[in-house]
Structure formats: structure tokens, C-alpha cells
């Protein structure tokens, strides 16, 4: 009756999701973009105005390119099925290669099928970075608070509050930097409300976040009508932050405009990404923050003040997002309008998740979303077969796939969303 035969541990195979997705995109690339695609060539220019030297134009025949890409993708997909059989997951870099091939294939397909078969890759990327700036700041705010265990749905409100305050302060003081600082403070105020209600009064963090977005939208909308529109000259003509070109470097094709031809906020973005990453993963502060977000009770037993850390992190996140919000009114757009952030706080939230709560991951995800956003604009101009609305949906669809675990498993901080109350 006793069962004594020792069975070898049965291997649990990795999820089928990755191979399935890879197969699907390979098939799409091969058939839809390739065989059924347009045979015209797609032209990609790499230069923009002011570049130091000329790069040749990239000309890719639509059908052939995608058939080649499709074959490569099919090979990767087949390899990932084989790997799965052996109980191994596909290397991350292979997934990245597949993603890049798919995106390029898609680009070649739309451009070759468009009315104008040429787009500027340089301005596509540079414009994408510009659109990504508020997303990056917003997602850093999300990373900062969620790493400490507070879910931040209020990024949208923080961006909007920052945009509004920056506009009004930069108008009244006629000083863009005053606007920048005020925006940070405004974001902090939104955060303080989030922190007060979710930490001190232990109100569900998602409720506070959702309601805060409505509140900020209401207050800024109200003040926009009652104050700004009464005297737009005085209250809604913000001085803008200049674009600072770094000599020589900014003339490098493609990367010059991205890295060395930015507004102050653009440069701040790169700095902020690095600082948050370095702070979270290399310093004592970061160790404590992550501990609080993962296992607050453990942190507490080591004498770390859990709620204090959470409080300050949420506030810091607010400052960062507020500065990001000022990008709308101090750089991108002439003046404040209602709902100027237009839901970008939620895309930033998506970037947090897609970037797996890592500042660099979130940064890359935000870039991707900014790029998609810009692509949508450009594609509308050149007249492609894909309705622009579907391009606009892309970040959201990608996020749905990401959280559904189709793009690897994203595991957030274990204690995010859970208030910490001592017994």
C-alpha cells in the first residue's frame, strides 16, 4: 500500500503564450505585410534640418522586405516552440529582436502602401521623444509611489495640476522657471492629498486616485473658466522654456535632435530617469523604499518607518509628475486648455506596468508609446490604409497584452495597494 517509488519531478513547461504570440506576429508579417503587402518601396529619410552630414535615404521594397522579416520571425517562433519543449523560456533579447522586426515590418508595410511613400525616420523618432516627455515623468511618478507600495492612479491629475499651475505662474511672473517650480509644487499638492487619504485615513488607494483625477480636472476646469478666460493676457500666456541646442552634438543625424536638442524639461527627463533608477537600485534609500513596497512588515521590524517612506515617496512622485505636466504649457503648447493632459497620465500608468516598475523600463515603454503617438500623426499625413484611431489605440492594446501576461509576466511590488496598519 505504501507508495515508495520515487518519481522524477515532472517538468512544468513554460507558458505557451510567448511562442503563440511570436507565431501570430510572424504569420502577420509574412502574409499580411509581405505576400499581401504593397510592392512599392518605402523611403525613410534619416536626416533632419541642421544635421552635420548627410546620411543616405533608406529604401526598402515593401513586399520583399516583409517576406524576409516574416521568414526570420517564423524562425524565431519555431525556435521558441523548441525551447518550450525543453522547458526553457526564450531569451529576452530574442523577443526584443522579434519586436523590432515586427515594428519595422509594420512601418515598411504602411509606408509602402501610403499615398506618399516616404517618411522621415529622424523626425518620427525626435517627435516621439517629445511626445514621450510627459509620459516619462508621469511614469516615474508611478514608479516612485508604487515601489513604495502606494498605487498611483492619480498621475493624470498630477500632470494636469502641473500643467495648469505652470501656465498660470509662468504667465503672471513672466518667468518660465518659476512656472516649472510651481508645477512641481502643484504635483506635490495632488500627491499630498493622495498620501493623506491613502496613508493616514487608509482609504483605498485606487478610489483616492480615481477621485483625485476628477477633482483636479474639475478645479482646473473651473479656474480656467473663471480666472484664465477672464484675462488670458495676464493668466494664460505662459513664457516658454527655450530649446537648448548643444553645439556640434546636436548636429549628429538622428540622435542629435533626440539627445542634444531639447528643452530644459527634456534634459531633466534624462536626468530624472537616471536618478530614479540609481536611487532605487543603488542607494540605501532605494533599498528601504523597495522593502516597504514588497514587505512593509519586514521593514517595520527593522525599524524602518513604513508610512513615512510611503508618504515622502508619493510626494516626490507628485513633484516629478508636476514637472512633467509643465511640459504641456511651458514647451509643447502655447497656453492651457481644459483637460490638456488628455489621458496621458493613464498611458504613463501603462508605461509603469509595461516597464515592469523599473524606471528604465518605464522610460523605454513611454518612449515606445510616444513613438506610436507620433507615428499616428505622421501616418495620417501621408495617408495610410490604417485608420489613425487604430494607431492611437496601440499603447492601450499593448498594455492589455502586457498585463494579460502575453509579454512576459510583469510582477509589481507585492504590497502595492495595501495600506500598512500596525496591529
Amino acid at each position: 500500500m505504501t507508495a515508495t517509488t520515487l518519481q522524477p519531478a515532472i517538468n512544468v513547461l513554460p507558458s505557451k503564450k510567448t511562442p503563440i504570440i511570436l507565431t501570430v506576429i510572424a504569420v502577420i508579417t509574412f502574409f499580411s505585410f509581405g505576400l499581401l503587402g504593397n510592392d512599392q518601396a518605402a523611403h525613410f529619410t534619416l536626416n533632419s534640418a541642421g544635421d552635420a552630414f548627410e546620411l543616405p535615404e533608406l529604401v526598402l521594397p515593401g513586399r520583399i522586405t516583409n517576406i524576409v522579416f516574416g521568414v526570420l520571425l517564423l524562425a524565431i517562433a519555431a525556435y521558441s516552440w523548441m525551447q518550450r519543449k525543453q522547458g526553457k523560456a526564450l531569451a529576452t533579447w530574442m523577443i526584443a529582436v522579434a519586436a523590432i522586426l515586427f515594428v519595422l515590418g509594420f512601418l515598411v508595410w504602411v509606408v509602402s502602401g501610403a499615398n506618399i511613400n516616404s517618411i522621415s525616420l529622424a523626425s518620427l523618432l525626435a517627435g516621439g521623444v517629445v511626445l514621450a516627455v510627459p509620459l516619462v515623468f508621469g511614469s516615474l511618478s508611478g514608479v516612485l509611489s508604487e515601489r513604495a507600495g502606494v498605487v498611483n492612479i492619480a498621475i493624470e491629475g498630477q500632470l494636469l495640476g502641473g500643467a495648469f499651475t505652470a501656465a498660470i505662474v509662468a504667465s503672471v511672473t513672466q518667468n518660465a522657471f518659476a512656472g516649472l517650480i510651481a508645477a512641481g509644487l502643484a504635483g506635490a499638492v495632488v500627491s499630498l492629498v493622495l498620501a493623506l487619504f491613502s496613508i493616514k485615513y487608509v482609504v483605498n488607494q485606487i478610489i483616492v486616485g480615481v477621485v483625485l483625477n476628477v477633482l483636479v480636472s474639475g478645479i482646473t476646469g473651473f479656474l480656467f473658466t473663471t480666472v484664465m478666460q477672464e484675462d488670458p493676457e495676464l493668466f494664460n500666456s505662459p513664457v516658454h522654456l527655450p530649446v537648448v541646442e548643444i553645439p556640434l552634438l546636436s548636429a549628429i543625424p538622428v540622435i542629435g535632435p533626440i539627445l542634444f536638442k531639447q528643452s530644459v524639461i527634456g534634459y531633466l527627463m534624462y536626468l530624472a530617469v537616471f536618478l530614479v533608477w540609481f536611487g532605487l537600485f543603488k542607494t540605501k534609500w532605494g533599498l528601504r523604499v523597495r522593502a516597504v513596497g514588497e514587505h512593509p512588515k519586514a521593514a517595520d521590524t527593522l525599524g524602518i518607518k513604513v508610512n513615512s517612506i510611503r508618504f515622502w515617496n508619493v510626494t516626490l512622485g507628485g513633484i516629478v509628475a508636476g514637472i512633467g505636466g509643465s511640459f504641456f504649457t511651458l514647451v509643447a503648447i502655447d497656453s492651457f486648455t481644459k483637460e490638456i493632459s488628455g489621458g496621458r497620465g493613464f498611458i504613463a500608468l501603462a508605461a509603469v506596468i509595461f516597464g515592469r516598475w523599473n524606471p528604465i523600463g518605464a522610460f523605454l515603454a513611454a518612449l515606445l508609446f510616444g513613438f506610436a503617438d507620433n507615428l499616428q500623426v505622421i501616418l495620417t499625413i501621408i495617408g495610410t490604409p490604417v485608420p489613425s484611431q487604430f494607431m492611437a489605440m496601440l499603447p492601450y492594446l499593448v498594455t492589455i497584452f502586457a498585463v494579460a501576461g502575453l509579454v512576459g509576466r510583469s510582477r509589481g511590488p507585492a504590497a502595492a495597494g495595501e495600506p500598512y496598519v500596525k496591529e
Binding site: M1, T2, A3, T4, T5, L6, Q7, A9, I10, N11, V12, K282, T283, K284, W285, G286, L287, R288, R290, A291, E294, H295, K297, A298, A299, D300, T301, L302, G303, I304, A414, K422, E423
Partner: protein, 532 residues
Amino acid sequence: MKLELRGISKAFGSFYANKDIDLTVDDAQIHCLLGENGAGKSTLMNVLYGLYQPTEGQILLDGKPVEFSGPGDAMAAGIGMVHQHFMLVPVFTVAENIALGAETTKAGGVLDLQVTRKKIREISDRYGFDVDPDAIVEDLPVGVQQRVEIIKALVRDARILILDEPTAVLTPQETDELLDIMRQLKANGTSIVFISHKLREVRAVSDVITVIRRGEVIDSVSPQASTTELANLMVGRAVELNLNKAAATPGAAALEVRDLSVVDPAGTTTLDSVSFTIHEGEILAVAGVQGNGQTELTEAILGTQPVTGGSVKLAGEELVGKSVKSILRSGLGFVPEDRSVHGLVTQFSIEENLVLDLYDRPPFGKGISMNLEAIKKNAKEQIEGFDVRTDNPLNPASSLSGGNQQKVVMARELSRDLKLFIASQPTRGVDVGSIEFLHRRIVAERDKGTPVMIVSTELDEVMELADRIAVLYKGRINGIVPGDTSREVLGLMMAGVSQEEAFAQAEYSKADNEPVEAQPASEHDNQEGEAQ
């Protein structure tokens, strides 16, 4: 360091979890706090560690009164604590976990883990811990995680170490290793407060045993006190180990489990080709140290745990692959091991909890409508029948004491005609009065002819209820023995000794009348601390 607690009381509202407790732990002493679950041991230690503020009383270290506003203060004063549920961040490395809260940094707050790694290696070498500073904690076995906790305390120069139920999650070997570590720590001058309710371990390692019951100190005794004496002190009355149940009259085979296996998501085999049969009208008790596959076994039968192989037949009908609902429908009564997580919706009323798995069948439910009158009537009957102490069946289940909550679960599961009854830890955290009541109910169900399976980590309970005993060890059945098998044999089997050898060893030790520790080294000698 010498620790004194003077007149410590800790009240939650009007309830005193600790009342007027005096306790003195001498330098380099292993002092055991012995008491049942819920006696107030952990509360007392949380007070000592600064997690709770005492309502009254004083803590003295080396004669000087101290006050802790948080664990940070306690640590600074030289007190370290290993919690029963480890306070480790699972995704951090060992070094990160140990550095946390006492980080060494370079300029600008930049973390310097080299210093921590060096300290870990030092301590690890000194005590033979074999801990890799760069391993991720969640990948480590439980026993190693516990060592990380101990290192954490030692790195902080803890001179008094509190170990809260440290052996609950350990295998017998790991338990023995831990007891050795405790002796070594003591030899190095560390005082240890050892919290446990396991008599044998306590007697093996303690210098002094203080018994706590219902939040008060009952007595301090020496480890030479007999097991019965300690048990009586702990429980507060002569422990009657005899239920006076009639002999079983087993009928036909009812539940047949064949080669049942479960592999967890991490790929570990938690249940390994388990086979056994339960007949009508008998109680099969599954004994074993916690975490040897008991949870997986019961959940696999219930259908909440996906199985990787094997079959479960109830009255000839295959259960594997069926939904939980249809398995319950085929006549299974199931009492889960953790009532507040799996057995009750604590926010629901007692009334609703009494129909939690019956709500959609007559007389309580028909189609999608429910009969509230029938539910009310049922509640009244069950509350009376099981003597559930409450003034209103509409109160939430959370308002009940542990024992009464367990009665609600039992009442519900026994309120229908059963073809099989499974109860895990049927009396965990239940007051003594209710234990006897619940045991009688279980035996009564057996006497109705129902096959019964009891899973318990408490050997006393197993021996009291079982007609036959199956011992689970590392996910496998290490033998099925008669209900009157001796404690020694069961202990050895729970430690992994094979059935034949366990009987042989028990015979030998009885004949020799010697403590097992003194036996000549054998293949299994490192397991005998638990066996004794």
C-alpha cells in the same frame, strides 16, 4: 544579557492578551515560553520587541529599565527576533535583506553591500550556516531562510534572541539542526527566548520552561519535568487522552486514492504517488510534520488543487477532473485547515456561512432564487445542535471566537448526508472544551458509517481519533499503521524512518530504556530529537 519583564500587561480593548507577566531570562540561557496557540506568547514577545506598547509593566535589561517605541529601539538595545512568519523580502538577496535598516553606505547614500557580505560569511562560517549572500531569498528552502533571519539578528549584535515558533515550518532534520544552533549561540553567550508548544523540543533544549496560559504565567519548571506534567500545565487541566470511542466496524472500501501526485508551479513534487483506501465507518488519520503534502492531499481530493497524475475514486466514481462543486455534490464534507481563509467568509453572517456550500440546493436554493426562511431555520437548528455561542445568527462570523467559528464550519459540513468526511486540523486554535465536542462529533459521523479522513499535525489528536494512521513524509506515504501505534514509532515515521525500522528502533529503545539521544550513531540519528 539579562532580561527581566516585570508585571507586563497588554490589553486590546477590554481583552487582556497578557496579564501581569513576570519573566527573567538570565545571561546565556535558553528560556522557553510554553503555551497553547492563543495563550499570549507572541503578544508578549511583540511587546518585548517594541512592536506593541505594553499597557502596564516594565522591561529591564541588565537591571536597567528600558522603553521601546519601535523595533528599532529594541534592536539597538540588543534584542533580535525571528518571527514565525519570516520578515524577509522575498525578492531581495540575502545580503540586501540583512543590510536593510542597518545599511553601510559610501558617499552620497550609495549602498555598500560588500561589508554586509563579509559579515554574513563570517557568521555563516562560525555557525556552519552555509548561506550564500547573493542568493535570492524566495529561492531558498525554509530552513535556510530561517538562518538568514538568525544572521540578521546576529549582525545587529543581538544578545537576546527571540525565536517565535521556529520549528513549526521545519522538517525534523532542520529542527535538530536549529536546536544545535541554539546550543552554539548559548555557548557564545547569547540568551534565547524560545517560544513553542511542542513539548519534546522544549524539553530537549531549554534551561528553564515558563508556561503561559490565557495570557498569564502559570509556572516556571525545569526541563526535567515530565511531558504529562508540562501538558497539564499548558492546558490547565488533566489532559484526558481518552475519548472512549468504540472500536470501528469498517465496511466496504469507500475512498480509493491511487498514485495521486501534485507538482507545484515551481516544479517541486509536493505529493508523490500517494495511494490509500478508506473504508466506510473508519477514521483514517493523516499524520506528519506541517508542509509534508497534507494541504495538497486534501485540496487535490476537493478539486481545488490541480493534480498531475493518479486517481481518486469515491464509491467507484472518479473525482479527479471534476469541478469542486460536483465533488462536493457527490457527498464530500470538507473542513479546510484554515477556517478564516478557506472555511468561512468572515464578513458573512453566521446564517450565510452555515449554507456557504449549500446555498444553491434545496431547500436553500432553487434555480437562481434562494429561500431565506429555510436558511434562517437551518441556522437556528445548527446553532443549537452545535452549541455555537452567539446572540444573533445575523452577526458576522468574524464576531465568533475561534472555537465557535470552527463549530460553524463543522456544523455546515456535517449537516448533510455524506459519503466522505475530510477534516484538516479540526481543532487548531480551538479551546479545550470545544475540542472534545468536535472530536465526539467526528466519531459520531464515523459511527453513522461515513468514511472519515482527519489530517492533523498534532500527534495527540491523531492518536485520539484514528482507527488507522497514514504518515505523510515529503509528499509520500511513509506507511499506514494501526490506530494504537505508539508515539515513538509515529514520531520516527514522521521523521522519515521507514515503518519496519521505526518499529524495530522503538522496540530497541524500550528494551534499553535509554534516551534516544544516547543511542549509537545510526543512519537516522540526526532525526531523533524529533522522534524522542
